[in-house]
């Protein structure tokens, strides 16, 4: 695929890198020569210097050949105009833009569309991160929780604690132990390596797992594996950092009738927060001020969310919260470099806007009728939810005979709104929504399974 990326910042850089590794032809445009240099030093892509919204710059970047435009400069207006120019002058079929200003996002349904501003998909990284964080608060017994098929199927991330039900089991013994709870274990982490599990692999204490499970059985599963579910409504939550993410999370928690305490160190911002949030208690102070944290009863919190713009502050604050034995800590981490470290420090729950953004962009690049994508664990495993169409290879043979690519499983099938947790004898039918977990290396083979033949109209 020919892909044009505007903006070589954190998001642009990571997407370019990922797409270039997958063999796409990528061109990156930016105004900052240093950023472009960093891109061309680290990957095999073409770079163009200039204002990303200017027709001549887009022409120089080869816009007329592009299948996809990703406008991720730091400027909303540049991103929107670039999409318009790419559409009107160069007929780029799919256009994705990052838009951060809530004013635009609130008007999205009337502002964007075929006859309006021609943007097919808006990326709003802060909102995606906020959504992921609220989801973690809702299902705090899990390390991670992701929605598929409109929430009908959940991928639940679990950490196996010593002496709990799952520790020491083989994967093929799971169903006997879990009895009526239908689950499919789609990912397994042992010694920091993520894999798609085999039936005879053994689950050890300290490992992490992802389970595909129907929404209604999530609670049962968590109870069964020994993770207590606290009721959401009576929770005490402390948020650190009142930037865009912190604000959006506080707002959503208020809607769930949770009244969080929010600590913000910038006086102007704190004042703004106090005016714009209804029930949240806004506290002016430093994230790393232990006296303040104690005064605000950090030891009695159910959830501690470290959401400042600074990764290091978030990690340190989370460690402090851990010291006070807060049950559930969520750490916002932007940079990939910290992933391993965080795990070793015992901080289990991290949210990375970078990963969620890359995942949501991938859904526009994968071939087939893709309904959703996500990354699991450290990002080395990928989830694809796609519709099986007439004439595609995945139909009408039991899964066991399909010769699925290496490290690939079907975790769930949604047929006519009903969730089926599959086994080797399940047949996929046309129009089923199929949830697959696989590795980067097997993605092309998975796409092949969903490809339609010539006669598909």
């Amino acid at each position: 695929m020919n892909i044009l990326i505007l903006g070589a910042g954190e998001v642009g850089f990571n997407i370019a890198q990922r797409l270039a590794i997958e063999g796409n032809d990528v061109v990156v445009v930016d105004l900052d020569k240093n950023c472009l240099q960093r891109v061309s030093d680290s990957m095999d892509v073409k770079t163009v210097w200039g204002n990303a919204a200017h027709p001549s710059v887009l022409a120089q970047a080869g816009a007329e050949h592009m299948d996809l435009l990703i406008a991720a400069t730091t400027n909303d207006e540049v991103n929107m105009i670039a999409c318009q120019v790419a559409h009107s002058l160069y007929q780029v079929p799919t256009k994705i833009a990052r838009v951060r200003e809530a004013d635009y996002v609130n008007a999205a349904s009337q502002l964007f569309g075929r006859d309006d501003l021609p943007i097919d998909h808006i990326i709003f990284p802060e909102q995606e991160a906020a959504h992921a964080i609220v989801k973690r608060v809702q299902i705090s017994a899990a390390v991670d929780a992701q929605d598929f098929s409109g929430g009908k199927v959940q991928l639940i991330g679990l950490r196996v604690a010593p002496k709990t039900l799952l520790a020491g089991l083989q994967f093929n013994e799971l169903q006997d132990v879990l009895q009526d709870i239908q689950v499919y274990m789609v990912a397994h982490e042992h010694n920091r390596r993520w894999r798609v599990p085999n039936g005879d692999d053994v689950i050890l204490a300290g490992d992490s797992l992802y389970a595909a499970v129907e929404e209604s059985q999530v609670k049962l599963l968590l109870q069964k594996v020994g993770s207590a579910c606290t009721d959401c409504a009576n929770k005490s939550v402390m948020i650190l950092g009142g930037g865009n993410v912190g604000y959006l999370v506080a707002k959503e928690l208020e809607n769930m009738n949770i009244i969080p305490k929010l600590i913000e160190q910038n006086p102007t911002r704190a004042l703004w927060l106090a005016e714009n949030l209804d029930k949240t208690t806004v506290i002016l102070g430093s994230a790393l001020d232990r006296e303040l944290l104690e005064e605000e009863n950090i030891d009695r919190m159910d959830d501690f969310l470290a959401l400042t713009n600074d990764d290091e502050t978030n990690i340190l604050a989370s460690l402090i919260a851990k010291k006070y034995k807060v049950g559930h800590i969520v750490t916002l981490v932007n940079r990939a470099i910290y992933n391993d470290l965080i795990h070793e420090m015992g901080l289990d729950v991290t949210v990375s806007p970078r990963l969620t953004t890359v995942a949501s962009i991938l859904s526009h690049i994968r071939k087939g009728r893709v309904l959703g994508t996500a990354c699991l664990g450290d990002g080395s495993l990928e989830v694809i939810e796609a519709e099986a169409l007439e004439t595609s290879a995945i139909l009408n043979a039991p899964l066991i005979h399909l010769n699925l690519p290496p490290q690939t499983v079907v975790g769930a099938v949604v047929r006519n709104d009903k969730v089926i947790i599959p086994n080797g004898y399940t047949h996929i039918q046309a129009h089923d929504h199929v949830l697959m977990v696989t590795t980067h290396a097997s993605i092309p083979a998975v796409e092949q399974l969903f490809q339609v033949h010539l006669e598909f109209f």
């Binding site: 007329e64 592009m66 559409h87 969903f450 490809q451 010539l454």
Partner: protein
């Protein structure tokens, strides 16, 4: 089966540099349709599976609501172009087919007829060496009965 191709819909020497630019160029020869919409439809279909059927031939296609009757555009790319074809080979002959949204059966037959025709090596050779619109039309009309 009667195959009709308008003179302006035969492009014997196209030199676009990419699949998308090629399809856009072919569609821009059609004056009666919304080109952006048609491009979206054809490229969305390509994402579900490439219509490059091998031997240097591709038959991109799609359904369009506003259309009255099937529409065929033929293009020849002498150098060859990367089209994600099933055999990985560059594509030289592109036959773009747009059909109205209804009458599914008839259109499948048309698509099948085109695919059968272009699988014939003599037909491909003749199309590659054709020098005029009349010759191209003749090849299509005499070969598809």
């Amino acid at each position: 089966m009667n195959i009709n191709i308008a003179p302006e819909h035969v492009l014997l020497n196209i030199n676009s540099g990419s699949k998308k630019a090629l399809v856009a160029k072919m569609l821009s020869s059609v004056l009666t349709i919304d080109i952006d919409q048609a491009l979206d439809i054809v490229m969305a279909r390509e994402r579900l599976g490439s219509t490059g059927i091998g031997h240097g031939v591709a038959i991109p296609h799609g359904r369009m609501e506003a259309l009255e009757e099937p529409l065929i555009v033929v293009a020849r790319h002498i150098e060859g172009i990367h089209f994600d074809a099933i055999d990985g080979a560059p594509v030289h002959l592109v036959v773009l087919l747009l059909v109205p949204s209804d009458e599914e059966r008839k259109h499948l037959e048309l698509l099948a007829a085109l695919a059968r025709l272009l699988q014939n090596v003599d037909v491909r050779t003749a199309l590659m060496s054709a020098e005029s619109y009349e010759q191209v039309l003749d090849i299509f009309q005499t070969s598809v009965k």
